[in-house]
Structures are given as structure tokens and as C-alpha cells.
């Protein structure tokens, strides 16, 4: 009989905090600068330097902690994590070990079947990033760029609560959304601002004990997370079913070959000999500090999602799309305010033509040529009957290419919807006179020709006929009613 397997996954997510300066030095955290121009004496660990802690990093860690309903430690302690690597000049990384700033918390994720799952977060601790090693360009040498050394990271450690690669991705996406809402991390996975390690093990369904886990390092895209975990689960099951054992080890995912493989075995690598850093005093956050952070906390994604359904009567799906980022949610609400129209119409435009135009042009939301005022102004002209939805698409394109606001474009292109019914009737009469054969066929039962007449009238009016009015008049005239 074939036994069922269950996979058990926990993620360690590294979020680079969006501070201006580093965690323990006044050097800039700017990405992409020429090598080593943002690495100061402290980052280089020159003799005699001392770390001085960046207050903003504490604020950001606490923001995150409050957002996941975590215990915030009134007193946390920095520890040295000792290992040797050229991109770590001190020979240790300053991290937090026994007393992290953010303790146990939780985060709700929505699964594919629509149900909600609570994922436990063990802790989130502050630590500094290492530099970068470049192995490619030099023969028998490695180049070291220490610009990133000392950049503040928040390491978010989940409980082993995730049961599939999909769940892991849903959780990672939720963290991605959350840190961007909070404005504590830019979430740019390509630049490594948000990356994760996945701890993966498998066990027989019903087994209470955890299997031996492998850690997959440095996953920096949602797709790689899913593929790497799926591969690793399958590898472990195959191994166990063929009588082998899983070794506790660190593995790397190779996206080109779609496999994970072990890092060079370093038995002692995990002996980091943590101890409290004598250069740093305990970090104490008082009530006033916590109150101030709590007061400045923005509306969180889940709250916004619920409010969009409650306040605007939007579906869960629409609310999900519109609250995916704080910027998109703000854009929707500003547009709604300008449009003075019903929320669903505005939602459709924002999620439809507007998002499509953003995607197609590759423009970021904050650089969009169509502002909430422009889009809202145009939607207002649909609602008050000045233009049809079809004309609006033309107006929208013209706005996108910078031809001005909706009113100017409507004026310039004479896009006003024909509202005079006698004028429309005259056009219909002319179309019927010009196409006697089709009229006869229609009257003989060829209903499909109705669309032909609509098309002819639209063409004759340059699309300015009100579609509802046209349908009604046309039907009446074709059937010979008076």
C-alpha cells in the first residue's frame, strides 16, 4: 500500500529595511552605487570603530511586529554570530539571538480554495547584511564589494506551519504586501531586498514527529520558491521511499537546471558561537516609543480589504486586486472621489483599461500619465451620459498619450454622445432606406442582422449614438412599430 506523505515547510525571510543609513553606521544604503563607495570605516571593521544603532530600524521592526500582532520585547539584545567569510569584514555578523525585538506573532493567508490559514511567526530579529562576493571576473581571486555590508535586515522566521510550496508562496506574498504597505522594505526581490531560505522536510501523514529538514538558501522570486520547494519535496520522498535518509544540510536551488544541490559540506558551519555583543547596550523601547509607532501605523492590507467590501460593496476578488498594493488602493480611492460615480464602475476602470495600460507600457503607478483626477473626471462623463463606454475607451487612450483631460478631448474630437432622439431616428431611417434587402431579411426572421444595423448606425454617427437609445429605436423601427 502506498503511504501518503506530508510536507512541512518554514520560511526565514530577509527583508532589507528601507532606511537611509546603515544599521550601525552613517553610510548610505543606496543600491547600485560603484563598489565600496558606500562602505565606511565601521562597515569595513577598521580597528577602533564602534557601532551606533539606527533608531529608524527599531521603529520599522516594531511596525512589523505590531502588524503581525507580535509581542514586542521591551528589552532586546544584540549578539555576535561568528563566522569567517571575506564579505563579512568583522568576522561576525551583529544579529539578535536569545532576545529579539519582535517575538511570537501570526499572519493570515488565503489559500487557493478561499479558506484562511493562520501562519505562526516565531520571531523577527534585526541584523546586518553582509557584502557581496564576485567570483566571475577574476582569475583565482574574488572581488569584494562591501556597499551592502551593514544594511539593516529584518529576519522573519515562520513556524513550520506551511504544508505545500503554494502555501509558502502565498505566505511570502503576504509578507511582501505587508512590508510594502508599512513602507519598511521596497520588496524588490530582483535586487535582493526581499529573499528567503526555505526549511523543507517530509513525513508520513499522521506522524507527529518532524522529518529531517534541508534548508534551501537564497530564493529571490516567488516562482523559484515554488519550484525549489516542489523539487525538494519530491527529492526527499523519492529518497525515503527508496530506503535512503534525508541529511540535514544546506542546499542551493539552480533555476537553470531546476534542481537543488548541497552546498560544500561544512560540518562546523552551524557553530556560530553566539554571544552578546559587548560593543552594544541592550535596546530598550519604552511605552511612549511603542505608542508613537502604533499611532503612525497605516491601515493594513487585511483591514483595507474588509473595508473595501463593506464600504464600497465590492466583491472579495475586486477588493483583493485593488488592495494588492497600498499605491493601487490609494489610486482607486482618489479616483472614486473625483469620479463621484458608483464604486464598481470606478473599480472596473482601475482594474481594467487602466491596469492594462500600465502593464502594457511598463510604467509604474506613481509615474502614470493618467492621474486619479483625469480618470475620475472621465468616469464622471460616462456617468452623466456625456459619452458612452465605448467613447470613453478612446478618451482614455487620448488621456494616456497626454492630450489633456476628458472634457478637452471630448470637445476636440466631438465625442459627445448623441442624445437628440429625432436626429438618431433620422440616421436610422437613412440606414434602412440604404439597405432595403437587409430590412426585408430581418423582417423575415433573420434576427442576426440586428447587429448589422447597429454597426451601420454607429458608423454613420461616428459612434456617438447612445447604445441603449439606439437599440430601442432601431428595434421599434425594424419591427415597424410606431
Amino acid at each position: 500500500m502506498e503511504m501518503e506523505w506530508e510536507s512541512v515547510i518554514g520560511l526565514e525571510i530577509h527583508a532589507q529595511l528601507s532606511t537611509h543609513s546603515k544599521l550601525f553606521s552613517g553610510a548610505s544604503t543606496a543600491f547600485g552605487a560603484p563598489p565600496n563607495t558606500k562602505a565606511c570605516a565601521v562597515d569595513l571593521a577598521l580597528p577602533g570603530v564602534l557601532p551606533v544603532f539606527n533608531e529608524q530600524a527599531a521603529r520599522m521592526a516594531v511596525q512589523f511586529g505590531l502588524a503581525i500582532s507580535a509581542e514586542i520585547a521591551p528589552r532586546s539584545v544584540f549578539a555576535r554570530k561568528n563566522y569567517f567569510y571575506p564579505d563579512l569584514p568583522k568576522g561576525y555578523q551583529i544579529s539578535q539571538y536569545e532576545l529579539p525585538t519582535v517575538g511570537r506573532g501570526r499572519l493570515a493567508i488565503v489559500l487557493e480554495d478561499g479558506s484562511t490559514k493562520i501562519v505562526g511567526i516565531t520571531r523577527a530579529h534585526l541584523e546586518e547584511d553582509a557584502g557581496k562576493s564576485l567570483h566571475e571576473a577574476f582569475h583565482a581571486l574574488s572581488g569584494i564589494d562591501l556597499n551592502r555590508a551593514g544594511t539593516p535586515l529584518l529576519e522573519i522566521v515562520s513556524e513550520p506551519d506551511l504544508r505545500s510550496a503554494r502555501e509558502a508562496v502565498a505566505y511570502m506574498k503576504k509578507i511582501h504586501t505587508l512590508v510594502r504597505y508599512l513602507g519598511i522594505c521596497d520588496g524588490n526581490m530582483q535586487e535582493g531586498s526581499l529573499r528567503c531560505d526555505a526549511n523543507v522536510s517530509v513525513r508520513r501523514v499522521g506522524d507527529a514527529r518532524l522529518g529531517t529538514r534541508a534548508e534551501i538558501k537564497n530564493l529571490n522570486s516567488f516562482r523559484f520558491i515554488e519550484r525549489a520547494i516542489d523539487y525538494e519535496i519530491e527529492r526527499q520522498i523519492d529518497l525515503l521511499e527508496s530506503g535512503g535518509v534525508v541529511r540535514q544540510e544546506t542546499r542551493l536551488y539552480d533555476p537553470d537546471r531546476h534542481e537543488t544541490r548541497p552546498l560544500r559540506s561544512k560540518e562546523e558551519a552551524n557553530d556560530y558561537r553566539y554571544f552578546p555583543d559587548p560593543d552594544l547596550l541592550p535596546l530598550v523601547l519604552d511605552e511612549a516609543f511603542l505608542r508613537a509607532v502604533r499611532r503612525d501605523l497605516p491601515e493594513l492590507p487585511d483591514e483595507k480589504h474588509a473595508r473595501f467590501q463593506r464600504e464600497y460593496g465590492l466583491s472579495a476578488y475586486d477588493a483583493t486586486v485593488l488592495t494588492a498594493t497600498r499605491e493601487m488602493a490609494d489610486f482607486f480611492e482618489s479616483t472614486l472621489q473625483c469620479a463621484k460615480s458608483d464604486p464598481k464602475t470606478v473599480a472596473n476602470w482601475v482594474m481594467g483599461d487602466f491596469s492594462a495600460a500600465l502593464n502594457k507600457s511598463g510604467v509604474e503607478l506613481d509615474a502614470s500619465p493618467v492621474t486619479p483626477a483625469l480618470l475620475g473626471g472621465m468616469i464622471q462623463r460616462i456617468t452623466d451620459g456625456t459619452i458612452t463606454g465605448k467613447m470613453a475607451k478612446e478618451v482614455f487612450e487620448a488621456m494616456w498619450s497626454g492630450e489633456g483631460d476628458a472634457d478637452a478631448i471630448i470637445e476636440k474630437r466631438s465625442l459627445r454622445q448623441m442624445s437628440d432622439s429625432s436626429a438618431l431616428e433620422a440616421v436610422i431611417d437613412r440606414v434602412m432606406t440604404d439597405n432595403p434587402a437587409q430590412v426585408t431579411q430581418y423582417r423575415a426572421g433573420k434576427d442576426k442582422l440586428f447587429g448589422f444595423f447597429v454597426g451601420q448606425v454607429m458608423k454613420a454617427t461616428s459612434g456617438q449614438a447612445n447604445p441603449a437609445q439606439l437599440n430601442e429605436l432601431l428595434r421599434r423601427k425594424l419591427t415597424g412599430e410606431k
Binding site: S21, P86, H135, L263
Partner: protein
Amino acid sequence: MSLQKADVERIAHLARLALTEEEAARYSGELSNILDFVRQMEGVDTEGVVPMAHPLDATLRLRPDQVTEADERSLFQSIAPMATEGLYLVPKVIE
């Protein structure tokens, strides 16, 4: 508690310290003494005592998040054994 020579060699390796035979022997004695001292302290009742993270009775000073350091790369690299194109060069390390 006494540390074996192998323990001392392992600790030295983790710290990247090269010890001679005599040093290893001497340190295993000295380190064992430190452990004995710790064992002695374990006899003290520390119920309700917060573990000391730092001997100074003070808390961490918080610095405003401002960039205060200028680029001094050429100065720093003037004392580096090897540097090129702005990168520090070290013997090849690859995982």
C-alpha cells in the same frame, strides 16, 4: 570539567587560530579552569535575576537615520593588499 585537546583544537579552528602543541596543552588547562569557575557560579541561586547583557547599567543610544559618511574608498583602499576597479581582492572563495 576538563577540556580535551581535541576540543581546544576545534575551538581554535573555529576562531581560525593556529596553536602549537604546547599552546594547545596550556589552553586546555586554562580553559578548563574557566569552565570550573563557571561550574562554581552555577551553584548561586539566580532565580529572578535578569541575565546581564552588558556590565554598564545603561541602554542603547539611538542615532537618527541620517547619512553622515562620505565616500573614502580611495583612502581605505590605499592600505588594502589588493584592490581593482573599486573591489577588494581576496584569494578565490566559492561555495
